[in-house]
Amino acid sequence: MKPFGIAIHGGAGTIPRDSLSAEREALYLEGLDRALSAGYEVLLRGGSALEAVREAVVELENNPLFNAGRGSVFNHIGSHDMDAAIMCGRTLEAGAVSGISQIKNPIVLAETILKHSDHVMLIGQGAEEFARLHHLEFADAGYFYDEFRHQQWKEALAAGRTQLDHSLPANEKMG
């Protein structure tokens, strides 16, 4: 049997061990585990790599712990700007999307662009119009609201800084 497999990530940054409670750490591990299983199951039943990576990312996008889809952080105006890309190694076809705020699963839109558009990358309102044409699922602002993310945004706004999801602010002193 030929080897097959999958790897996933849910973000990188300054993640000190004591920055996560045991409960929150368990939730992250559970979320990663679920996404890994979703992708691996596709491969196990003979599905394509493209399908496997989409399924794994959809699972992560649906989990508010991770900064994508439902768990996307707030931008300066208190809205969301989501980006996604997907590429097939066999055909070198690619689909990408940027600056969208209402699509439930941006990676599904990226895959739809890969499969059904003459273009590689669509942005903003035009991308959402394309998604509407292809009957993709939309979600309102309430779906993307998360109290933890909102608090992160208010603190960043007050401090006038832009920050990565999993990093301590640059001016934060430790010790």
């Binding site: 030929k2 080897p3 097959f4 497999g5 999958i6 790897a7 996933i8 990530h9 849910g10 973000g11 990188a12 940054g13 300054t14 993640i15 996560l20 750490e25 992250y28 990663l32 585990d33 996404a35 890994l36 491969l43 599905g47 790599a49 493209l50 990576v53 794994a56 990312v57 996008e61 991770f66 900064n67 994508a68 768990g71 996307s72 952080v73 707030f74 931008n75 300066h76 700007d81 989501m82 980006d83 890309a85 997907i86 590429m87 097939c88 190694g89 690619a94 990408a96 940027s98 600056g99 941006p106 990226a110 895959e111 992160q152 945004w153 960043a156 706004l157 920050q163 990565l164 999801d165």
Partner: protein, 136 residues
């Protein structure tokens, strides 16, 4: 940012990356995640890569495609190519973060230069892991 790379039973590779960007970002800022070649790349000849981290350095390093180029043009293994990019090239331009990658032989790499990366992998040879911190 989240992402996945995979190799299927037929030896085909794919990569997917998705992000909500940076908290409090403005002016329509876009990072590397949705830029093919920077945060995401797949090519059956070499590898599939999905990146996560500080988008601007990853864009300037054309990170995902760089891993593929090191394999294709310089003959590096997946492991060496990933390490060259994440531990040597990115730090020179203050690029913090990491990437996940797989190649046509079924090798899998999860490499990062930050304190941690939420990550996981499962291989048909039985290996499976999920981890967060560097020392895990």
């Amino acid at each position: 940012t989240v992402g996945a790379v995979a190799i299927d039973l037929h030896g085909n590779l794919a990569a997917a990356t998705s992000t909500g960007g940076m908290t409090n970002k403005k002016f329509g800022r876009v990072g590397d995640s949705s830029i093919i070649g920077a945060g995401n790349y797949a090519n059956n000849v070499t590898c599939a890569v999905s990146c996560t981290g500080h988008g601007e350095p990853f864009l300037r390093a054309v990170t995902a495609h760089d891993v593929s180029c090191l394999m294709e043009y310089k003959g590096l293994s997946l492991r060496d190519a990933c390490r060259e990019v994440v531990h040597k090239k990115l730090p020179r331009i203050h690029g913090e973060g990491g990437l996940i990658a797989t190649d046509a032989a079924g090798n899998i790499e999860l490499v990062f230069n930050s304190d941690g990366m939420y990550r996981g992998m499962q291989h048909s040879d039985g290996r499976r892991e999920v981890a967060i911190y560097k020392e895990d």
